[in-house]
Symmetry: C6
Subunit: 238 residues, 6 copies
């Protein structure tokens, strides 16, 4: 099984070599734990490795996203100029209103994603965030279906996918609706742990179908150079 480098220092080591090709991985964490950074570094690595990448964002403000990524060392305009990176999406509100009219939400969105993936010959895809995507559908069954079809479609197109997933502070779950981890091929969790009046960052690979991976919870840091994982370091000692 071919592996894709994650572009996050130290993480490939926990994954014994990277993300398996054509698989999708849930990147779960509470706010400010670095989910989008990890995902963006994944696409930047793709540009380096000649694996074109698509970022599907439902955030309101594209400009701000680009500015933020620059501060941790991911230069989106530079990536775009290579022709191997594209950013699509737009506010959830726009998507929601359009779709409510056409009554064909899921199929429309999936077709549009498929079209861009083909055009770009994308090998890597990031969906930021899966919470906003799933908010477009009503029942749990519809949400589960939409997610399953999306990841299946991307696998068929040969893409390896990261899905960022927002976890409410104080929750013990590793996804918002509680089923996303079962649909995903892999789950990486980013933690913020309060220990002796400090918030420590940590990361763990919870699940990664098809490969062996570390079972450790390891220290992580976010600096100007982005998110970095310390595969030999515990996040704290009691």
């Amino acid at each position: 099984m071919k592996r894709l480098k994650t572009g996050t220092e130290g993480l490939d080591e926990l994954l014994t070599g990277g993300i398996p090709e054509r698989r999708n991985v849930l990147i779960s964490g509470t706010c400010g734990t670095g989910k989008t950074i990890l995902a963006a570094q994944f696409l930047r690595q793709g540009v380096q490795d000649n694996e074109p990448g698509l970022m599907i964002s439902f955030e309101q403000d594209e400009e701000k996203l680009i500015e933020d990524l620059l501060t941790i060392g991911v230069d989106v305009p530079a990536l775009q100029k290579t022709g191997k990176f594209r950013l699509i999406g737009g506010p959830i509100g726009t998507v929601r209103r359009v779709q409510t009219r056409t009554k064909a939400k899921k199929d429309d969105i999936l077709k549009e994603i498929e079209r861009v993936v083909n055009e770009l010959e994308a090998k890597r895809v990031v969906l930021d965030s899966i919470n906003l995507f799933l908010m477009l559908f009503e029942s749990e069954a519809e949400k589960r279906e939409a997610l399953a079809e999306l990841v299946s479609l991307l696998a068929k197109q040969g893409c390896t996918t990261m899905l960022s997933c927002e976890i409410e502070e104080g929750s013990k779950k590793i996804s918002h609706y509680g089923f996303e981890e079962f649909v995903a091929d892999g789950v990486i969790v980013l933690y913020r742990i309060a220990f002796e009046n400090m918030f420590e960052r940590a990361i763990a690979v919870i699940k990664m179908r098809g490969i062996e991976h570390s079972k450790a919870i390891r220290a992580a840091k976010i600096t100007k150079e982005g998110l970095k994982v310390y595969p030999d370091q515990e996040p704290y000692h009691k």
Copy 2:
């Protein structure tokens, strides 16, 4: 009471010899604990023991399932060639839409399963996952009925059954809806336990009607050779 070997090293020891014939067992666990692996190893053992096996999967992507199982040493195409293994199902979405029209969900699904079991002369059946199956029905009473009829039907056909059951991370339950364990003849729980910054795997037989079984929580591992149970080893020491 005849026993069927589980095909998972070390597990038969916890079960004092295997799963009782014609019974059904819930395989419960959070994501990435090896439920599907355990179930697939059960069917592979069946091929070796001349007990044909049927895998009913509601997952979106059959290809990926086959690929995953190969990485832990279960070669589905090879099993299929023996004529003693069959994989049926398809995405939950397909089933749901068809059934909504016909208004005869449960009976249709059960008849189709019965037909294939007879054709294959199946002795072993895996339902992966029971969560997706039960999502097809509305009220708790309907879900409970559907599950009871399914396991009864399979018992009448002489099948021994494993039902994989997804547990939400952080939950203390051993099933999704809270009643599945009462309908099942047996319950095996797969655990992921955070201990000193490591995730340890463990397994326990919670219930197995008709036989005596170990009451211990024991260590487990997932490697390239699949899931293995260590019947004499505790998952961690405090």
Copy 3:
């Protein structure tokens, strides 16, 4: 107040002599703790003591129930041959559908139970499980009413009753809906307690109107000879 022997070794000691006559007892516990075994042993004891017993089961599969009870030493066909034991009921689904048409659920069921009790001259009754019985009614008030009328009817017929009650794993309650224990005359709870990587069995009499009883939580075991209580033994030591 006359007492009935429970037929479970060690339990009569906790009850200072057995269950008071004409009373009903809730047998509560999570899955696999031995509720049905305890109830069946109660009816077997009745056959020995010339107190005919009726088992009302809403389980799907009568055959499997009979087979299971045999493995812990309760021979249902042999009991039936004595003419002092009867097993009635059938799947909850059947009952539910019939009753929905007639619009007289509760009265129909109670009349049928009364008829069989009279025919058999039953002195002991087991309802397995009360969860399935209560699922036939809508609101909490209707459920409570139905349960109160059932146990009152049985008391008037001179019957002593056991009602098995399924508790969801991880719950701190001693009944499913939270009111059953107030309608019942007695409550016996069966426990599965995780202690040092082992699941220990335990039992306690929580309530038994009309008699003095032990207030201890005591060790229990399920073997080929059935459920046995150790009235002088704690389930574990810290």
Copy 4:
């Protein structure tokens, strides 16, 4: 403020002399903690003290209630013969159905209670249980209103009242709906506490408007002589 003896040995000491006249007290506890016993002993004391007492019970089976009370030393028929004790009520189901027709539930019930109180010249009233009474009303506001009117009516008639209140096992509340304790003048809680594999009984006066009372949690016992409180004894020592 005149006090009424509770009739429960040791309890008057915690209350520095008994229940204040014309007040109402919530007797809260999980199943089997002795709520009905405490209430019945209160009425028996009334007979001795020439304060006629009325027991309003919504339980299904009056006969069984009488039998139970006899086993802990409260002889209801003997009390009835004195002409200073009356038992009214009947199953909640009966009340509920009648009332649904007349559309005047609350007023009807209150008038009937007032009539009997006057006839008997009752000085003490027991409502067993308040849960069943409140189940007759829909919204929280209606329930609260009904309870407030009931206790106000009884106070105006010069009655001192005990209201038994069922608490679900495992709950941290001291009433079922969470507002009853605010309507009541006093709250006495009966506990069952698991300590070193034994269930210990305990009692505490949580609130008693108009008087000073003990703030201690004290040991209690239920024997053939009924419920007894040990005002100088802690329920357990760590």
Copy 5:
């Protein structure tokens, strides 16, 4: 900012001099912690300080309220005779039914309160309890609005206000609906804390806009002389 003496011994010390004028304070606590006592002592102090006070009570039984307050040393009839104290309100049921007809609940109640405040030239107001007042409105938004308008109206009339707030036993909240503390200018919490088989009373000023206040949790007592705070004493020592 002018301060009003609370009339509760020791409390002014925690407040560095009393309640700021024209502000409102939530007095929160579970049942029997002395909320009404604290509020009544506040109005009695007002009579002494020539600041007329209005008590708005939605309780069923005015007579009983007066009797209770007398037992802790607050003589309502004597206060009324001074012409500087008034008690209005009446059962919530009455208010609710009238208002449902007129469809102008909030405005009617507020106008009536304004009228009495003006007539009495009230400087202090007590609302006992805010739970019953808010029960008159449907949605959270309506409740929040009603509360905000009420406290604003009273501030404009120059009144300083106490709002008693019932907290359900076992809850970690400091108000019933969870928003009252944000609308209030101040929050004082009364505690009952179980410690070594005794219930200890305690008090803390959680918030008081406009002034500095103690951040300590301090011991309190209720005796025949009413509620007393011990500003230098911890409620218990571990």
Copy 6:
């Protein structure tokens, strides 16, 4: 990335220099932790730094707000006289009723805010509180959309924004609805921590996109001089 001084002593140090320009920050905390104070000090600093500030308040009572701020040293009328500070808004009830009629809530509010921001040439905006703003919208999706559009609009106008967020006492969340922290660029949490019978104040920067920040939980105080942060001091020692 340009930074704006927060105006709260010690906080800029935790932020390594202040809030990034054109970003929005959630100021979360339970009642009385100083959210409004922190936000007001932010606007006062703006007046000093020639960055005009707009405070949007949905509170009922503007006068009281002004009075409160004065007590902690923020003189609103003085700020208003500089022409670089404006306070708009009004009670939530007013807004809610108007908007329900016009059916164009969000757009109307956003346009009005945009107009004032332009008029004032505001560089800093405070929304106090976001809870009241979001209460104007129905579903989670609508709330999320409204918040995303608001912060996007303000960023486009060149404003740096603080959004105060009320957290219910006892909750482990850092926002009311659980999604606000994901829409915000930054999150600062204000704590009240009970430790040895004292409430200690603390603060932590949970997230701040675009910059590096302290990961420490640090001591804070509210005095007549307002809110002050102690960047080198832990809130308590065990």
